[in-house]
């Protein structure tokens, strides 16, 4: 097993997507931070990760290897708070 994992990351509106080779030890928080930085997502919003292939949410602190397999599509979704 290689130390890298090829996955697809996209925003919730699917206007931004990238195929990435990520270290298995990368965390969900790492992906979110990279998405915010590289895609200039609004910094005053909080984000969460969803593995759309499995239909499961990813824990921000968990390593990718725990909930993602090669080829999975991971989506960065805003955490909503207004009522």
């Amino acid at each position: 097993m290689t130390d890298e994992l090829k996955i697809q990351v996209r925003t919730a509106d699917q206007t931004r997507r990238a195929e990435l080779d990520l270290d298995r030890s990368s965390t969900g928080a790492d992906i979110i931070q990279a998405a915010v930085d590289n895609w200039a997502l609004p910094a005053d919003t909080d984000y969460t990760l969803v593995n759309t292939t499995t239909g499961r949410a990813l824990m921000p602190g968990d390593e990718l290897s725990k909930g993602v397999r090669a080829g999975d599509v991971v989506e960065v979704q805003p955490v909503l708070v207004a009522g």
Binding site: D46, A57, V81, A82, G83
Partner: protein
């Protein structure tokens, strides 16, 4: 209350997965009478949900009217919960709709929470959602969390009444959300006077979709099984939606401490009877209070202050950061200690027979979390 005309629900009666009797017997709490709360109340009233309690502390403002179906210009300045409850009652006078005005943290009692089939949280900040998440877990009542912005809608269901451990609202909350809550406070518990709340734009479109999914999820319409914690995420512009399973996080700050379901014990704030000293084992027992208390207050320049008694052993949340400024030396030199964990012996020494000013206290006793509900004095 008028009696229901059976022809009112003729169309509902044609739906094989919808039981009007079950809906009439259902009791729900809607916390937050804002845009989503209005829509949820509307749906419950139209569906014939028998008992709906609407909680909100806020007053109606003019800008609420672009998203809140039950509010009118004549309601500006009126209690939101009252206004929404009154108008929702007009939809169907046979239902019991009640307004509970005030901070839901105080008005939503742990003793009465289990009477609800579900609590819908339609509030507008993380802090309130975190608190409701705690209360619903302790009371083991199902929670539906509904939120939105100008495009997206998220409706999450947390089946806390299930005997199986389930994910809670905090299991997937990123650290940045806690940082946002912390920005409202200084010294670990005092409100910041200068903090400006972030204004999040929303529309009637997102509110109505959030309200529809929240009401349907709360009533488990068309679904008789107990589903695991999950999130419905909707793009109101693109039309797409996703259902995501929310897995329980082992080290979750919101639910890991509970382990199995917490045992609820109703107690008095005046829990320490004069002359009845706790035994050694009880004295060592650690209690985590629902709210942090100020435990020390002194000036780095002037030392202990006479006015310290105004603050010590009071809830930190009752004060803002203006109390960190010393009136004696006119410097921001006040050192304030704020804690929420205490041994029983320390509480005995601090409060004696006086009431402890918190909602509840949690303790680990023989491997089980026990919640001592101190609200009994408030009844």
């Amino acid at each position: 209350m008028a009696s229901t005309n059976p022809s009112r629900y003729l169309r509902h009666d044609l739906i094989d997965w919808l039981s009007q009797d079950v809906l009439a017997a259902t009791r729900v709490a809607v916390v937050g009478a804002g845009a989503i709360g209005n829509e949820v109340a509307k749906n419950f009233a139209l569906l014939g949900v028998g008992h709906v309690d609407i909680f909100d502390f806020d007053k109606v403002e003019l800008h609420n009217l672009t998203r809140s179906i039950f509010l009118r210009e004549s309601d500006v300045g009126r209690d939101k919960a009252e206004a929404v409850s009154a108008r929702a009652s007009e939809v169907d006078p046979n239902l019991r709709l009640s307004a509970i005005t005030g901070d839901a943290w105080k008005t939503l009692r742990l003793r009465s929470l289990p009477d609800y089939d579900c609590v819908v949280t339609a509030v507008d900040n993380f802090e309130a959602r975190l608190k409701l998440n705690q209360l619903c877990q302790i009371a083991r009542v199902d929670m539906v969390n509904a939120a939105m912005d100008s495009r997206w809608v998220a409706v999450e269901s947390y089946p806390f009444s299930s005997p199986d451990p389930t994910a809670c609202y905090e299991c997937h909350l990123p650290d940045s959300a806690y940082e946002r809550v912390a920005q409202r406070y200084s010294c670990g518990g005092l409100k910041r006077r200068a903090h400006a709340e972030r204004k999040i734009p929303t529309t009637a479109i997102t509110a109505s979709i959030a309200g529809a999914f929240a009401a349907s999820t709360a009533l488990r319409l068309g679904e008789s099984r107990q589903l695991p914690s999950r999130r419905i995420f909707v793009d109101t512009i693109g039309g797409g939606s996703q259902v995501t399973e929310l897995v329980r996080r082992d080290d979750c700050p919101g639910c890991a401490a509970f382990g199995a379901a917490p045992r609820l014990v109703h107690a008095s704030r005046r829990w320490n009877r004069p002359g009845a000293e706790p035994d050694a084992e009880t004295a060592r027992q650690v209690l985590r209070l629902s709210e942090a208390l100020i435990t020390d207050y002194r000036c780095a320049n002037c030392g202990m202050l006479e006015i310290a008694d105004r603050y010590i052993n009071r809830k930190a949340a009752d004060f803002d950061d203006s109390i960190a400024f010393c009136a004696g030396c006119r410097q921001p030199a006040i050192q304030i200690e704020i804690r929420d964990c205490f041994r029983v012996q320390e509480l005995v020494e601090r409060f004696g027979a006086r009431p402890i000013p918190v909602k509840y206290a949690l303790a680990e006793i023989n491997g089980q979390t026990v919640c001592f509900n101190f609200e009994e004095d408030d009844r």
